[in-house]
Symmetry: C2
Subunit: 136 residues, 2 copies
DNA sequence: ATCCCATACGTTATAGCATAACACAATTCA
DNA sequence: TGAATTGTGTTATGCTATAACGTATGGGAT
């Protein structure tokens, strides 16, 4: 059993702990918020958290929100690569909505192709007020 | 002469200094890089730079690159609002290409509309290798 | 002119985000 | 078994950003 590239299986202890924290909340958490939650469980220093986060992002289980310097658990069931996610971030309630819009993805890809830009990663983060918060 | 909302005119001294630094380089600069450049001109502390940057961003003269924690001068001639810019960032040479693609903009707007998300600002940053760097 | 107000300034201190570098442990696999 | 790789824990440090304070400045309105 060689369990190749980027599998979601057998996360290490720290990775599991970090993933657990991100999974049990609805919104994003900063690395230091995660650290604070995990002090009881033996996690004591930033590098421990950042290392776990790096791997989880690499595995596609977690996304980094650049405009927030924070991290969210990926809400996609499967473990597909899908590095083409966009986010809507509510500036009122803090909720993050993960979206994969095919035509948006395609438009971005086309844009890159047209300019002969070899795309590695796309960061798309939309800020605003979500439906629920507008009602309220 | 009332010089209303968000005009690009009569920037303050610090704003001009910061704008000057951003204008004379081709790529993005961090706030602290700007600060270092301006020490000779009497700028001594981070808040001075950050305050200037905040205003310049507000005026639409400068963009913040969230995925880089850095700032670039806007390359659009006019002073239109155009908060719908996207960026391609070359991970090899560091150059930043500012693009305004109407159909991308529209797609984002449609996405927001469909989910009844009231859009305030969109951050679109594409990472990869630019045409020039691929050739080399 | 004078007062008011809004905006900008300068400074100190501190908060918040992230990584370098080192030594050691565990795991894999030849 | 031993080499290579990956993960761990720790200390220290660097980079990014803002809070909070007091002062200055410049444009109305009266």
């Amino acid at each position: 059993m060689s369990e190749s590239v980027g599998s979601t299986n057998h996360l290490t202890r720290n990775q599991l702990l970090v993933m657990g924290e991100l999974s049990k909340v609805d919104g994003p958490l900063s690395a230091y918020e995660i650290l604070d939650q995990l002090r009881d469980h033996g996690v004591r220093s930033p590098p421990q958290v950042y290392r776990a986060l790096d791997k989880l992002v690499e595995f596609g289980l977690v996304h980094k929100l650049e405009s927030l310097n924070a991290f969210v658990a990926c809400r996609h069931p499967g473990g597909e690569p899908h590095e083409k996610t966009a986010f809507m971030i509510c500036e009122n309630c803090g909720q993050v909505f993960e979206i994969t819009d095919d035509s948006l993805t395609k438009r971005v890809a086309a844009l890159a192709r047209d300019t002969q830009f070899s795309l590695t990663k796309s960061t798309i983060e939309l800020r605003g007020i979500c439906r629920g918060c507008q009602a309220a």
